[in-house]
Amino acid sequence: MAKKENVFSKILGRVSIRRILGNSFARAFLILGGITMLLPLGWMVTTALKDEWTIQNYPGKWKISIPQIAVKDTLLLDYILVMNDELEEWVLEDFEEKITPWQGEGVGLSSSTGHTFLERQGQQKEVLPKVGKRMLAIDYDFTQNSQRSWRRSFKTPLRIENALNISFWVYGNDCGYELSLEFIDGDRIFSTEEPLLVNFRGWRKLYAVFRPEDRYGERVLFIARDKSGPIAFKPTDDIHISPQEIKFSFTRISYPKVLWNKALNNFRMVLRSIPFSRYYANTLLIAFVVTLGQVMTSAFAAYAFARLEFPGRDKIFYGYLATMMIPGAVTMIPRFIMVKWFGWFDTLYALIIPGLSTTYGTFLLRQFFKALPKDLEDAAKIDGCSLFGIFWRIILPLSKPALITLAVISFMGSWQMFLWPLIVTKSQEYWTLQIGLAYMGGRGGEMGSQYNLIMAGALLVLIPQVIIFMAAQKFFQRGIVLSGLKE
C-alpha cells in the first residue's frame, strides 16, 4: 500500500496538476474542434437517411424517424387514374361496387369548407387532398394474415395498346408494407416488376408505367410489366374494349427489412431518377484518364524544365507559368471554340483531352525535381544510364510523394469539374456526376427542395474521393523518408 502511494505521489510530483489540466484541456479543445468540423458531414449523412416528412419540418431536426411496426391500420387509396399515350386520362369511377367514404378503425374522416380531415388516434389532424368521395379504404390487421388484396373491375375508354400509366394517391403511414398492382385487360395481365414500399408519410401520388422505355425521371416507383411480353402498338378501329380489372395487394414485410429499405430508400430514389451509373462511369473514366495524363505530361515537362539545358528554358518556363495567373473563366470561350473546331463538342474527348496537361502540376514537379540531389543523377550517368533511364529509374521513384500529391489533386479537380463539362456537353450520356447532381436539384425541379435525395446523391459522389484520399495517405507519410541522401 505504502509503495503504491509512493509511486502515485512520485508521478504527481513529476507532473504538476497544472500540466495535466492544461493537457486535458488542450485535448478536449482539439477533440471538440474536430467534432465541430465533422458536423456538416454528419448532417449530410443523417439527411441522406431522412424521409421527406422529416426534412420538411422546420427547424431542421437531427433525428431520423424510425418506421413503426405495422399491425393494424387502414390503407387509403384515392383517385385511381389511367392515362393513354396521348396524355388523356380518366378517373376510374365506373366500379361495379361504389367506393364510399369510410370510417376505419381508430381513424376518422370529417369535412368542412371544402376540405376533408383525417383523424387518427393520438395523431395530429391532417388535411386530405380534396374531398375523398372516391377514396378507397382497406382495413388490415397483420396479426391475422400477412397479405390483403382488393380487386375491382371497371370500364374506361382506355385501350390497352395505348395505355401509358396508372396513377393513384396513397396515404402512407410509415409502417413499411409492400404494395403491388395487377392490371388485367381481357386475358392479358400486367403486374408490377417489383413491389412498391409504402414507407413514407402522408399523401403521395404513385405511378405504374406500361411502357418502361424511359425509366429515369418520371416519379415512377414501380413498373408494370406484361407477363406475355411487351405491348405492341396496333392502330385499330375496333371500338371493342375488353373488360378491365385492377388488383391491389399489400404484404407485410419483416421489421429488419423495413429498416433496411428505409435506410436505402433515398439512394434508390436517386438511382431511379437520374441515370446515375452512366454519370459515374463517365466521371470515373474522365478522372482516371485526366489524372494519368496530367501526371505524365507534367513529369516530362517538369524534368525538361528542371534538368535539361536548352536556350531560353527559364523564359519559356515563366511564360508557361504566366498562364496559371489567368482565371479559367477568361480562357473558357477560346477553349470552347477550339473544342468545336476539332469536332469534339458533345463528346467525351472534349472532357478529357483539354485536361491532359496542367501548368500547376508542371510547376509543382519542377520545384520538387530541382530539390533532388544532383549527385544521384551524376552517379547514374557514370554507371552508363541514359537520359530517359535517369528520369524513369531515378527521378520518378524518388518523387513518388510529389507525383501522388499531384495525382490526388488532379483527381479531385477532374472529379469536381462542373462548368466545363456543363458547357461542352449537351447529351445526357456524356454528363458527369456533378452535372447530374445539379440537374437533380435544379430550378423548377421538385427534387430541388428534397434535400434528403440531394444529400444521398452527394454521398454517392463523395465515396470515390474518400477512397482515393485514404489510399494516398500512405504515400504522403512516406514522402519524408524517401529522399535518401543529404547534400
Binding site: 369548407t113 402522408g202 418520371e218 478529357i352
Partner: protein, 434 residues
C-alpha cells in the same frame, strides 16, 4: 511496381479510346430522317413526360427525328447563349419571357409570322397576354407554353383562429393591411414578434402591382419612356412601401423566419409563421401533399381609388433558333408543343397554367385529385398585367431593385423621391438603349 503502372496506363488509354469511340455512333443511326434538336430545362421528374410527348410527335411525323436535350435549370440562358455563339444551339428551345425581347433584338429567334399566316394558324385559343409576350414589334417570334400570375396564399386555419374573415371580393388595401396587422402577433409573449401578416417578394414587378391597380402604366405605349412619376403612382407606391416601413407586417427576411439560414424560403408559410404568402402560382404545386393546415388562394387587394385589382403575369414558351437548318420541321414541333398534347403535358406537370384556354379550364388542369382550386389561378388572368419587359430588362430590374431597397430597407429615400429617381434612371437607360 513501375511495370504494373505502365500496364495500367496502357489499359486505361485503351479503355478511353474504346469509350470515346461510342461518341460517333449515335449520329449516323437515323438516316433518311430530318434530325432536329430541342432543348428545355426539364428536371428529372419532367424528363420522361417530355420524352413521351416527343415520342407521340415522332409517331405522327415519321420523317422527323427529335433529339431532346434536357438541361439543368441553372445557367440555362447562359448556356444557350454560348451554344448560339458557337453555332450549336438547338432548333427549338424553351425560353422565358423576361429575356425574350433581348434575344429577338439580337436576331436569335426566327420570325414565325410567315408560318402563322401561311397556315392561318389559330392563335385565339391562347390567352391574349401569352401570345403578346412572344411578339415583338408586331411580329410573332414564339408560341407560349404556360404562364402564371402572382396570387396570395393564405392560411385558412390562422384566419379562422383569429376571427378574421377573408372576404376576397371586397378586400381593399385598407382591409388587407388591417388583416395583416391582426395576424402580426407575439405568440410566446417574449416581446418579439414571431408571427407576421404576410411574406412578400420585394422583386421589381411586385412593387408594380399596386401601381397597375391604381391605373398607372410603367412605360408608355411603345416602351420608350417611363411614365411612373404621377401622383396616383406615388400614392400606390407609398402604400406598398409602408407595408415594410410603417406597418411592419412583413416577415423581413428569410433568416428572420426562424433564425439562421432558411434554405427553403417557403418554410415560414408552411410552418404557420405568416398568415399570407404573396408568390407565384407555382407554389400551389409545391403544397400538393401538404397536410398540416387548410389553405386557399386569394387575389391581390383592390385599390380603393379605382376599384380595380391587378397582378403580375409571367410566362414561358418555345421559339425556333434563327439559324436552324430545318425551320419547317422545327415549326411542326413548335406547333405540337403548343398544341393540345403539349398543353396537356404542362397541365400534368401542374406548376404553371397552360397557355391554351381549352386546356387551362379543362379537367387536366383544374384537377379533381388535388386539394386546391386551380381555376382561381386561371381566373387571375382577368386582372394580370405583362411586366414592362424591354430589351434591357436585366438592367431595368436592377435599377428598380436598388431603389426599392433604399426605400424600404435603408429608408434613405421617401417613396416620392424613390419613384422620381426610378423614372429618371429608367429613362436614362431607355435613352441609352435606343
Amino acid at each position: 511496381m513501375l511495370m504494373k503502372f505502365s500496364k495500367f496506363c496502357v489499359a486505361t488509354l485503351l479503355l478511353a479510346i474504346l469509350f470515346s469511340g461510342c461518341a460517333d455512333r449515335t449520329a449516323s443511326e437515323e438516316e433518311g430522317k430530318t434530325v432536329i434538336s430541342f432543348s428545355a430545362p426539364a428536371p428529372p421528374e419532367h424528363r420522361a413526360v417530355y420524352q413521351q410527348v416527343l415520342r407521340i410527335f415522332m409517331r405522327k411525323h415519321p420523317e422527323i427525328k427529335v433529339k431532346f436535350y434536357p438541361t439543368t435549370g441553372q445557367n440555362y440562358e447562359e448556356r444557350i447563349q454560348t451554344e448560339m455563339l458557337a453555332g450549336e444551339a438547338p432548333d427549338v428551345l424553351w425560353w422565358q419571357d423576361e429575356y425574350f425581347p433581348g434575344m429577338v433584338e439580337a436576331g436569335q429567334f426566327l420570325d414565325i409570322t410567315p408560318f402563322i399566316e401561311a397556315e392561318n394558324y389559330d392563335l385565339s385559343d391562347f390567352f391574349e397576354l401569352s401570345v403578346k409576350e412572344f411578339g415583338h414589334k408586331g411580329r410573332q417570334y414564339g408560341l407560349p407554353q404556360a404562364w402564371g400570375a402572382s396570387v396570395i396564399f393564405y392560411n385558412k386555419d390562422l384566419f379562422e383562429q383569429y376571427g378574421i374573415e377573408y372576404n376576397d371580393d371586397t378586400w381593399t388595401w385598407d382591409a388587407f393591411i388591417d388583416a395583416c396587422q391582426r395576424l402580426t402577433r407575439d405568440i410566446d409573449g417574449d416581446g418579439k414578434i414571431d408571427m407576421f401578416g404576410i411574406q412578400a417578394n420585394q422583386g421589381s414587378s411586385y412593387s408594380f402591382i399596386p401601381l397597375w391597380a391604381a391605373g398607372q402604366e410603367i412605360l408608355n405605349e411603345d416602351k420608350t419612356k417611363c411614365v411612373i412619376n404621377t401622383p396616383e403612382a406615388v400614392r400606390a407606391y407609398r402604400w406598398w412601401a409602408e407595408r415594410w416601413t410603417k406597418h411592419k407586417i412583413q416577415i423581413e427576411s428569410f433568416a428572420e423566419a426562424g433564425g439562421g439560414v432558411v434554405s427553403i424560403p417557403d418554410q415560414a408559410f408552411a410552418e404557420g409563421q405568416v398568415g399570407m404568402y404573396e408568390t407565384g402560382a407555382f407554389f400551389a404545386h409545391q403544397l400538393r401533399s401538404f397536410t398540416k393546415f387548410r389553405w386557399g388562394i386569394a387575389y391581390m387587394p383592390i385599390c380603393p381609388y379605382t376599384g380595380k385589382r391587378s397582378t403580375r403575369y409571367y410566362g414561358d414558351g418555345y421559339g425556333i433558333w434563327s439559324k436552324s437548318k430545318h425551320p419547317k420541321e422545327a415549326w411542326e414541333l413548335l406547333k405540337f408543343l403548343a398544341g393540345p398534347v403539349g398543353q396537356r403535358m404542362m397541365a400534368q406537370l401542374g406548376r404553371s397554367v397552360p397557355a391554351r384556354k381549352s386546356i387551362a379550364y379543362s379537367k387536366y388542369f383544374d384537377r379533381e385529385d388535388t386539394s386546391w382550386e386551380e381555376h382561381r389561378l386561371v381566373d387571375a388572368i382577368k386582372h394580370a398585367h405583362l411586366q414592362p419587359i424591354t430589351t434591357q430588362f436585366r438592367e431595368f430590374d436592377n435599377i428598380v431593385g436598388q431603389i426599392t431597397d433604399r426605400v424600404i430597407l435603408t429608408q434613405d429615400l421617401t417613396p416620392e423621391e424613390g419613384l422620381a429617381l426610378m423614372e429618371k434612371e429608367i429613362n436614362k437607360l431607355l435613352a441609352e438603349g435606343s
